[in-house]
């Protein structure tokens, strides 16, 4: 336990240093408080806001959009990735589509999504899904392609049909890779939902930043940023813990 703590401290010392330097600069008057509030001020304000229903509602909105978009992206990415890996004709259809769509900055689609789906949840969820689907698709596809053929042969000989093999063998075998892709998609989802809310929204964390910017309340500008980062870190840690549990038996396959 002491060793883990020591390791954590070793890793975090630059962060602590930065925060300390930042706090000191503001306190010493080196930076104008209106431009760069002290970390203590930001965290105090965050703590204060977390106890208000209004702020929590904004957080909830952001989370809802994030989760919905990520869920759609996961379902789509898994389905397309498995299909492309398992079936040659499907792969030949999906691969060029991905090649064309992947390099396009999906954020550029946002105005079109607004036109089609409206200004509220749907367009944001669609944007998140559009951005998050690609890492999951890639991870699923590559993970599925790298499954050891002899695993499939063993299952086939035991009587599993080729179709059932995809779910019973390919999916579990590709799970480590898929989870890595999911983590990347998670970070991307946090980023995209925040940006979408900044660009065009009436609620959510991103919107709060813009609102604070318009009112020149600098502390209130930092709070949503810190919140989304902490959210992202927390969700990431959740996924990491889930990953450890799901992959408990895997061993070398990790």
């Amino acid at each position: 336990m002491a060793r883990a703590l020591k390791l954590a401290l070793l890793h975090l010392y630059p962060v602590a240093l930065l925060l300390a330097a930042w706090e000191a600069s503001v306190a010493a008057g080196l930076v104008r408080k209106i431009l760069l509030p002290a970390p203590s001020a930001v965290f105090a304000r965050l703590f204060e806001l977390l106890q208000t229903a209004a702020f929590l509602e904004h957080v909830a909105q952001t989370l809802v959009r994030l989760s919905a978009g990520l869920a759609i992206a996961t379902a789509l990415g898994l389905a397309l990735g498995l299909a492309a890996a398992a079936s040659h004709p499907a792969g030949r259809m999906i691969q060029p589509l991905v090649r064309v769509l992947a390099p396009i900055p999906k954020i550029a689609l946002y105005p079109a999504l607004i036109l089609i789906l409206g200004f509220d949840h749907a367009s944001k969820i669609a944007l998140v899904a559009a951005d998050a689907v690609f890492p999951i698709l890639f991870a699923t596809y590559h993970g599925a392609r790298m499954v050891e053929p002899k695993l499939l042969w063993s299952a086939r000989a035991a009587g599993t049909s080729p179709r059932a093999c995809v779910f019973k063998i390919v999916l579990p075998a590709a799970l480590p890779s898929i989870l890595t892709g999911f983590r990347i998609a998670l970070v991307i989802s946090c980023v995209v939902v925040f940006l979408a809310e900044m660009i065009s929204s009436t609620d959510g964390l991103g919107h709060l930043l813009i609102r604070a910017a318009r009112a020149f309340r600098t502390v209130d500008m930092f709070v949503p940023l810190v919140t989304i980062s902490l959210l992202g870190l927390a969700l990431n840690a959740l996924v990491a813990a889930g990953r450890r549990r799901l992959l408990a038996g895997y061993g070398e396959a990790r």
């Binding site: 060029p96 396009i104 105005p111 036109l115 925040f194 930043l209 813009i210």
Partner: protein, 262 residues
């Protein structure tokens, strides 16, 4: 047989899939039939209007210039930093945690704060792009430098090569595949950050053009501009991929990494 031969030519499958997407769009537009989704044909017809409008072109050009500048500065600073981090545990130990912390923060979201500090001019925009590009560049340069086979370095040492020459003759070329991969991700990030920061800041640039057209209900222009941005993204990615392959034809890199968000 001839169809197969045709399909195996390099540019053909993407063109076919593009055609397929456009056809799908056309059908969907007809089926959904709202003003907000004009048909693909009408959008393509309005492309010349967008492309030959001098003002829009100037905006797009200015955006690309800023993007190039931000990218260039990032390349000059982030790659060396990443390489040094890869060779020195102390440096990695210092910068690593900081970068991990910044990673989930959307760089374009810093736009309002940066504008507060540095004003609404080009500097802010270039800075944000620089920040967005730096992270993947640092990460991949770091990975590339770390993965240099020590035996190569030892062989060079045994040959009497001084440290400075080793950096350029051994470490840089060894790390190059990963660095180039970082560049490819970086250019994608540059485009994403550029467009999103312009959508947020709404001063100038292609992101601003998009939302202006949206506000003015010029739906065809919206979609046409999206197509132009998409084409730019595709072209940049293809270009970088070719450059990367030519420079590092001998190497094996990790799997495709995906840029996303901002």
């Amino acid at each position: 047989m001839r169809l197969r031969g045709l399909l195996s030519l390099p540019g053909v499958p993407p063109l076919l899939s593009l055609g397929g997407l456009l056809a799908l769009w056309q059908i969907a537009a007809g089926a959904i039939g709202i003003e907000g989704l004009p048909s693909a044909s009408s959008v393509i017809a309005s492309l010349p209007g967008v492309l030959f409008d001098l003002e829009s072109l100037a905006e797009i050009g200015a955006s690309l210039q800023r993007m190039a500048l931000g990218f260039a500065i990032a390349v000059a600073t982030a790659i060396p930093l990443g390489l040094v981090m890869g060779r020195s545990r102390a440096v990695a130990g210092f910068f690593g945690p900081l970068l991990t912390l910044i990673y989930p923060v959307p760089k374009a979201a810093l736009m309002p704060i940066i504008m507060l500090w540095f004003g609404v001019g080009d500097f802010s925009k270039v800075l944000v792009i620089f920040l967005g590009v730096s992270l993947p560049l640092i990460y991949h340069s770091y990975a590339g430098a770390r993965a240099v086979d020590e035996k190569l370095v030892w062989s060079a040492m045994a040959m009497g090569m001084p440290a400075r020459r080793r950096v350029f003759s051994i470490i840089l070329p060894s790390a190059l595949p990963e660095v180039m991969l970082g560049c490819r991700v970086g250019i994608a990030m540059a485009l994403i950050v550029m467009v999103s920061s312009e959508m947020i800041a709404r001063q100038s640039g292609v992101g601003n053009l998009l939302f202006n057209s949206l506000d003015m209900a010029q739906y065809h222009t919206v979609y046409a501009t999206i197509l132009v941005i998409g084409a730019i993204g595709f072209a940049l990615d293809a270009l970088f991929e070719r450059v990367r392959r030519r420079l590092t034809f001998w190497g094996e890199t990790g799997e495709e990494t995906v840029a996303g968000g901002g």
